[in-house]
Each structure stands twice: as C-alpha cells, then as structure tokens.
Amino acid sequence: MSETLPADGLLGWSWLLIALPLAGAAVLLLGGRRTDRWGHLLGTATVGAAFLLALLCTVQLAGQDGTPADVELFTFIATGELDVTAGLLFDPLSAVFVLLITGVGSLIHVYSIGYMAHDPGRRRFFAYLNLFVAAMLLLVLGNSFVALYVGWEGVGLASYLLIAFWYTRPGAATAAKKAFIMNRVGDVGLALAIFIMFAQLGTTSYAGVFGSVGTLAGGTITAIGLLLLLGACGKSGQFPLQAWLPDAMEGPTPVSALIHAATMVTAGVYLIARSAPIYDLTPTARAVVLAVGALTLLIGAIAGCAYDDIKKVLAYSTVSQIGYMFLAVGLGPAGYVAGLAHLLTHGFFKAGLFLGAGSVMHAMDDQVDMRRFGGLWNKLPVTFATFGLGYLALIGFPFLSGYYTKDAIIEAAFDRADVWGWLLGGVAILGAGLTAFYMTRLMLMTFFGRRRWTEGQHPHEAPAVMTVPMILLALGSIGAGFVLVVATPLADWLEPVFGPPEEAAHAIPPVVVAAIVTGVAAIGVLAAWLFVGRREVPVTAPVRVSPVTRAARHALYADAVNESLFMRPGQWLTRALVWVDNRGVDGAVNGLAAGLGGSSSRLGRAQTGFVRTYALGMLGGAVVVAGALLAVTAG
C-alpha cells in the first residue's frame, strides 16, 4: 500500500460504481408508484452496469500492474484536526470485492425479478437491494476507515430493511431488530477503533494509518485489532455475535443469498484483510481472530446438523464457512489469500445454494421445513443439478471450488508447524466432516427419499429468469476454485496488497492434507446416509433426543447465553435507571418546577395593576440603585 496512482481513465469514474445503484435506489424510493412497472428492471440494470464498469476498471488496474488508484472526491468532514477527505481506493483487493458484489449482485437481481414477481412490494425490494449494493461498494471502495464505516452502517441499514421486508410478520420484524441490535454491539467496537486511530495517529485514511501504525505502543495496536475484530464479528456473525444471522433468514431468499451469504457477512473478513498491516503487528489480536474463527466454524457446523429449516441450515453453514475465513486471515500473511479465495468461492456456491433453496421454497409454497420435502430431484431437475453442484463444492468434493480453497486454509493452518497449528488444522478437518454430514442430510431430506409433501402441493420448476442465475452460479461453484488457485492465482493478483506469496515449507504435503480432508468428508457423507438416508424421515421432529442433539437444536444455547449475559442485566439496569429517573430525577425536577411555579404566583401578586403600586416599586428600586451606587463609591 506504499504507492498509489492518481486515478485516470476509467478508474477516475469508479465513483459511478457507487453512484449508479444509489441513483437506482433514489429513483425507486422517491419515484413512488409511478416506477412500479419498470422499477425492478432499472434496479437490475444499474447493478449490471456497475458490474460492466467494474470489469473494465479491473482490466485497467491489471494494465497498470495492480498499482492502486486513489480517487479523491470531496472533503467530507473538516473540523479542527480532523480532516476526512472522501475518496475511493481502487486496488486489487477492492477490485476482487467489487467484482463479487456486482457480479453476484447482478445475478441475484435477475433472479429476484422472478422470485418477487407477485410481491406487491417489489419496487421497494429492488430499491433496498440497490441501496445495499451501493453501501457495500462504498464499504469496499472507501480509502479510509471513516468511508468504510459509512458503508458499514449503510449495509447494516439495508440489511435491517430487507430482513424486515415482510414487516407485517412478527418473526421478520423481531429478526430485523435482533440483527440491528447485535450489529450495533459490533459497530461500537469499530467506531472505538476508529476513534483510537484518530486520537493516536491523527488520521483515519488507510494510507495514513498503515503508514504510521508501527509507531504506536503494542498495547494500543492490540486494542485497535481487538476492537476491529469486535466489529467484524458483529457484521460477519462470528462468535459471540453469531445468533442474529440464522434469524435473518426471515427476509426474502434472494436477500439471504446476496447479503447474508455472499457479500455483507463477509465484510468482517474484508475488514481484517484490509487491516492486515495492523494485525501483522499484533500476534495477540491475531490469536484471538484464530480462536474466534475456529470456535465459530465448529459452532456453526454443529448447529447446522440439527435444524430442519433449510434456510437455517444454510445460514449456520455460512456462519461456519466464515469461521474458516476468519481462521485463514487470522493466520496472517500465510492465510490472507487463502481466506479471500474461500470467500470468493463461497460467494458463488453459497449464493447458488440459497437461490436453489429459494427455488425449492418457490415450488413448495414457501415451506422451509425439510421434513416436509423429499423426492424433489425429478420434479426440480435444474434446481437439483445446480444445488447439487453447490453442495459438492461446499463439502470439498475433489476439483470443485471448495476443494481448492478450503484445503488451502487447512494446509495453511498445519503450516504453522506448532501445536496450535495442529489443533487448528484438526478443528478445521473436523468441521469439514461435519459440513459433509449436515449438507448431505439436507440433500437427502430435500431431494431424495419418500415425498413427505403437504397435501395439494404440486412442485414445478422455476422460470428461466430464476434458473439461469442458478446455472451461472453453479458454473462458478465448479470452476471458481480452480481458476482462483491454479489457473490465475489470486495470490499473484493480490501481491500489491499483501506482498509476494510465500513459498511455505509444508509441514504435511498438500496431497496428504487433501486426502485426509476428502476422507473425513466422505465419512461425514456416509454417516449422513446411515442416519438419514437409510431410514424413514419422520414428518415431525423427534422429541426424545440425546442432549447433544438438543444442544445443537438450540444452536448451542447462543440465545440463552446472550439473554442471560447481556439482555437480562441490561433489562435490570434499565429498570433500575427508570426507577432512579422516576423517583430521583423526576422528583427533583417536579419539585423544582412546583417551587418555581409557587414563587411565580407569589411574585405575581406584586403585579396589582395599580399605577401607584408600580410607581412605589420604581421609587424603591431607584432608592436602592442610588444607595447602592453611593455605597460602592464611598466604599
């Protein structure tokens, strides 16, 4: 991040990337019902145009060997010492994210045209979706932590609006509130980190912060790192702030695919990767990142095994996969590229899986209970094929996307070549086995076995406007890993950001790792077949289950922990404060008001309306004035 070029050519227009979807959102929201008929097309077109522009910008960036381009826009805040210039930074890292956001975003916009075709709020939906894309692009394109923060809050708002899109459903409204509040907890961390940067370094721009962060005391750097991590945990649904993400599935399925699987929830990974120069200086914060990642990937995988709601299983899968990414970026220089590569492939196959789930729900009258599915493979052939490819990619089937990127993370963990490396690698392999188990369970319950449909359901394949994006994402599930790791290595592309890729001395040969991971995954698949595939799936979930299952069904009691650790004490605190406010503060205020009112009435009696009284008062005043002045002079 040493050198930047002034943006010229197309890169000078990169602000349009944000402006286009933002303008789309503005037109749709302000245009009102007049835009009902064509609003969704405009929304899709703006994101599509942004994708094309992003492609062209990336080509130009490649032409200048990835030297970052700095686009100065205007002075955002200039007060005293703080001078925040709003500017964009188009470098290889942001280019990767911009392509992911606009690319997957375009596909999901297209899919939504079909998915939301009969929803009366379609225009509002596309407006929010455009708003989200604009905010997310600002998040990854900003050249300072303040710009990132603005985008960060913007995506939080869009996420809130979209989770609560069907706001008349109590579940959706509650889920949106939960997501918003838990994100606030993380955002406080991010804001505090930015405050510390400004207080200590006097700047919030990436260039300024990374250039001088080395001069800070170790403790301060660690504090910044941990606070940034808190922000990242909130946005990315990582332990201990993971509980909102599965609930967020109350939103429409395209939202789950775009925001809560492919893009927004990976913002935490972006934040940590972007702040690499900070984390490189603080092994403590990095160790915490590792711990969070490892813990979350297990929690997500275990919870994923127990749920019957197809979207919640996928949501916990997302939590778990982002855990892998955190694990990777926590490893430091060895892991940044692996984490980002997994982020990209995950963006493809998880978005594809969610769109597939949406297609299934579409076919099954918005039902999400997998116990009511079964035998859908021949009714929904395209969905089955694309979903199946996404599934294979996710469990790391050899030579599909996940195989390359997940293995790279596990290898990088082992490459630490210490006891922690072995532990982390072991956790990651265990997670891969669990992933294979819960995803196979999902596949078996949804597409195979006896048809357990509700009476009168006639599943049918979705229209082309929905299947085409699914097919395109399935192609990504197949090939993205190969492209990013082998064909045009991401490591080379990101070299200007993270430095040249290290030729790691492998503690265990990659082939062995791949064999072990594939083997464990195979065991997971087999176990799923033994437990689920071979037997009849009961239509209602069995009540008498082992304590492990019960814990998993409650997502390892994350909500209970949150409630007892934060919510209850918070409620007690607010109740106590309300009591103090009512009795103490209000009492004092009311007493004071009564006192003033009383004295007002008493004083008011002097206002008799008689001139003689007034004149006497004036005379008295004059005497006092004259006496006082004389006294002052004499004294």
Binding site: G597, G604, A615, M618, G621, A622, A626, A628, L630
Partner: protein, 512 residues
C-alpha cells in the same frame, strides 16, 4: 452676531429622512382626501424608514461628532439606527395590515370618542381606518434613532420624550377592548413621566457635578475615581430612567399591562424598537460618559441583570395570556442584554458591545415575528391571546404553528436560531470579563424561560384542539411579508451569523 453651528447634514440623513417623513405625514393628514390617506401614509412611513435604513448603509464607516457636539454618528449609532429603521419599517407593515380584522384595521377610528358610548358602538363596525398612527409611529422611530445617536444628555432627554410621547398615544388606539388599551396608555404615560423625571433629575445632578451635559466632558469629570457622590447619584438616576424604558426589573412593572393592552402591532413595535433604543442609550451613556469608572456601575448592572432575568423567567411561568408571557419574556431578555453590558468591561475593552448589538437585532426580529403571529389567531372578539385558545393549533394551522414554534425556539435560545447566537455572544462577552456567576444565573434563567416558551409549542402540537377555538386568519401582503422576513432572518442569523456578527464587530467603536 451668532454664528450658525456647523452641522454635517449628510451624516444626519437617516434622522432627517425619518423626521421629514413624520412631518410630511402630519400635512398629509390635513390635506390629502380621506380615501387616499392610508396608502399615502403607509408609503410615506415606509419611504422614511427604508430611506433611513439605506442612508445608514451608505454612511457606514462614518465617525464624527456633529451639531456642536450634540450628536455622534459612529458605528454603534449607525448599526442601531439601521436596526431601528428596519424593525420600524416592519412594524409599519404590521400597522398597515387590513385583511385580518373584519373592520379593516386594528386601530380605533376616533380615539376621542368615549369607549362604550353609542357613537363608539356605531363606529366599531365602520370599515374606516385611522391614519394618525403612521406619523406618530414615524416620530417615535425618529426619536429612537436620535436617542442612540445623542452625545449630549439634554439631546438624549429630548429624544426620550420624542420617542415616548407618540408611544403613549398609539398604545391607546386599539379598536377592540378599548378600555384595556386606554388604561395601558395612561399607565404607560404616568409611569413614563415618572421615569423621565428621574432621568431629568439625574441630568441636573450630573450637570451640577460635571458642569456640562456633553458626554465627553462628563467623562473628564468622572475620571477613574467616579468624580464624587453627586456625579454618581446623577448616574444612578439617569440609569433608572433608562432601565425603565428597557423594561429591566424592578422597573418593568408597566411592561405586562401595557404590552397586553396596546394593539398587538404596537406591542410588537415597542418590544422590538424601544428595547433597541433604550439599550443603545444605556451602552452609550455607560461606555462614553462612565466607561472610565466602570467599577461604579458594574455591581448595579450585575444585580439588575440577575433580578431582571429571574423575575422575567419566573413570572413568565404562570402567565396564561401570550402577550403577557411575551412581556415577561421581554423582561428576561433585558436581563440577558445586561449581561452583554457587563461584557463591555473596563473602558470598553471587552467584546460586550458588538455582542449586545447583535443580540438587540436578533431579539428585535424574533419578538416582532412572534407578536406578528399573535395577530393572526383570532376569535369573535379580536385576537385570541389566551394560552388555552392555542391548544391544538398545530393540527388546525400547521404553517402558523411552525412559524410560531420557530420564534419561540429562537426566544428560548435553541441552537440554529438567532436567539442562540445572540445569547452565546453576550454570555461569552460576560465570561471574558470574569462574570461567570452571572452567566450561570443567565443559563439557569434561560432554562426556566425555555419552559414557558416550549409549553406553548407543546400546547400547539400535543393538545386536542378546543371545541370553538379561534380561527387563524389569512394575512394580507404586509403581515405575510413581515413573517417571511422575520422568520428568514431568525434562521439566517442562527445558521450563518458570521456576516452580521462581523458587521457588529466592525461597528463597535464609539466616537467622542
């Protein structure tokens, strides 16, 4: 052979224009046909005041003492003359409003007819207008402009009478509730005469002690030791006379009664312009004549400020009539203005002068606007100024309620309004002079006063409308213009006060 005194006519152009317009108004009253009188009088008054305003702009930067040392044309004089002329023009517009009252005017047709007599009842509904109010008001404006420019205690006294006598008269000219109006006029006259006597007595004592009524010569007699008991006693009595005009407690007792009784347009005029003139004279007297012995009057002003703020804020709490409430608000604001006077500092080294001048402008504009809104809300008996009648006004007339809310917030000193900028300026000036206890009291008084301003806002927006509540009249062009100008200025002076503060800063040098 007496030599004609050397008079700089050009520098006196603002005064000459206003007095010229007033004299011409008398002739118009005598010679112009009745049907034409109203437009001609309004036009004449506007030409006089706006011409004076333009003249002060042209004279900007002038610093001279003229008319044998009787008049000072300097920054403060011109700034305050411009303020008075501008606010005066707006007041004339309020007088000229003909759309609101069904009888076409807020002024009585014939003030000499006894109230309640058969002839009076007959005239009450005649759509005739009485136009004497315009030359009278113009004379008062001229007197105020002379007041702030007088460099001589005798001229100051003459100006005081020139501004006061027409005010006494026009206070009694209300078309409705005539007895209340006449009572107000008589009270104002009696107490005003009483106060003038104090002023005159003080003048005599000062002349006796200093041998001159010229402010610069008084200053030489005062020196830094106060110049002896006689001179200080003279100062005390002069100040009493001026504090009466400025409605500073404990000399404020006339204010609520007169503000309530006078026609609302006249009340607006008095509240805005008289305050500016009185404080202009106080500043000049204390700065030019007694500035070198600041220690003599500082405790007095300090105490008067506290008493005025506390009395105004506390008594305002229990008022149920909006005009009376605004009267007590005026008393409290006089106290806030005195904190700016404290900010003058020893020998005028502080930043109190520009702060006070800015406050006067801001307060004048805001209070004029608030009274202008009062003229809109009416029931069968005229203006509905009882608090209970304003309940739920926000639902019935959102624009009126919003404009009133703006003025009340400005009076309360909420940021982004003119009132906040003004308060900030005077409090800062006072703190720079070490008067932070005074500033603490001022802040507390502001908080108390904010209660009664905000109570009206709450009443307008959060109460159910009363059943047979007042109607909100559709104002004609003049009142609309006044509301637009005052509301815009209230916001502008709150959001972008820089230019005007700068102007006040540059104007803040007395001559002589």
């Amino acid at each position: 052979m007496i030599e004609a005194p050397d008079i700089s006519w050009g520098a006196l152009a603002p005064l000459l224009l206003v007095f010229g317009a007033a004299c011409a108004g008398i002739l118009v009253e005598a010679f112009v046909p009745r049907a034409l009188r109203h437009p001609v009088q309004v036009g004449l008054a506007l030409v006089g005041t706006l011409g004076a305003l333009a003249a002060t702009v042209l004279l900007a930067g002038t610093r001279e003492v003229t008319a044998v040392g009787a008049l000072a044309v300097d920054g403060p004089a011109l700034f305050l003359q411009a303020t008075i002329a501008g606010l005066g023009a707006l007041s004339v517009l309020l007088f000229a409003e003909r759309a609101l009252d069904p009888a076409r005017s807020a002024f009585v047709v014939s003030a000499a007819v006894p109230a309640g007599s058969p002839r009076d009842r007959e005239l009450a509904t005649v759509p005739q207008v009485q136009t004497e109010v315009y030359p009278l008001a113009t004379f008062a404006i001229g007197g105020m402009m002379l007041f702030v420019a007088s460099n001589d205690l005798l001229v100051m006294f003459v100006a005081l009478e020139v501004l006061s006598l027409p005010l006494y008269l026009i206070s009694g000219l209300a078309r409705r509730r005539r007895l209340l109006s006449q009572e107000a006029a008589v009270k104002y006259f009696l107490l005003g005469a009483f106060a003038s006597a104090f002023f005159l007595y003080g003048l005599a004592l000062v002349y006796g002690a200093a041998g001159s009524v010229r402010l610069s010569e008084v200053r030489e007699a005062v020196g830094t030791d106060g110049g002896g008991a006689l001179l200080v006693l003279g100062l005390a009595l002069l100040v009493v006379g001026l504090l009466f005009k400025a409605s500073v407690a404990p000399f404020h007792t006339w204010t609520p009664d007169v503000y309530q009784g006078a026609p609302t347009a006249v009340t607006a005029f008095m509240a805005a312009c008289t305050k500016v003139a009185a404080f202009g004279a106080i500043l000049r007297l204390l700065y030019v004549a007694f500035g070198t012995a600041e220690w003599t009057w500082r405790p007095l002003v300090y105490a008067a400020a506290i008493v005025s703020m506390v009395v105004g804020a506390v008594l305002g709490l229990t008022q149920t009539d909006l005009k009376r409430m605004l009267a007590y608000s005026s008393v409290a604001h006089a106290g806030f203005l005195l904190t700016g006077v404290i900010g003058l500092g020893a020998a005028g080294t502080g930043s109190g002068l520009p702060a006070t001048m800015f406050y006067l402008l801001a307060y004048g504009i805001t209070t004029l606007g608030a009274f202008a809104v009062l003229t809109l809300v009416r029931d069968g008996d005229g203006e509905a100024s009882h608090l209970s009648q304003w309940a739920g006004l926000g639902a019935r007339s959102p624009v009126t309620a919003a404009v009133m809310t703006l003025f009340l917030l400005a009076l309360a000193g909420i940021p982004l309004t003119a009132g906040f900028t003004g308060k900030f300026a005077v409090f800062r000036a006072a703190i720079e002079q070490g008067a932070w206890p005074l500033t603490v009291v001022a802040l507390l008084a502001s908080a108390v006063a904010a209660f009664f301003y905000l109570r009206v806002v709450v009443l307008m927006y959060f109460s159910e409308p009363v059943a047979d509540g007042p109607t909100v009249g559709v104002p004609g062009v003049p009142t609309t213009l006044v509301l637009a100008v005052t509301a815009t200025a209230t916001v502008a002076l709150g959001v972008l006060p820089g230019a005007v503060l700068d102007l006040a800063e540059r104007a803040a040098i007395f001559v002589g």
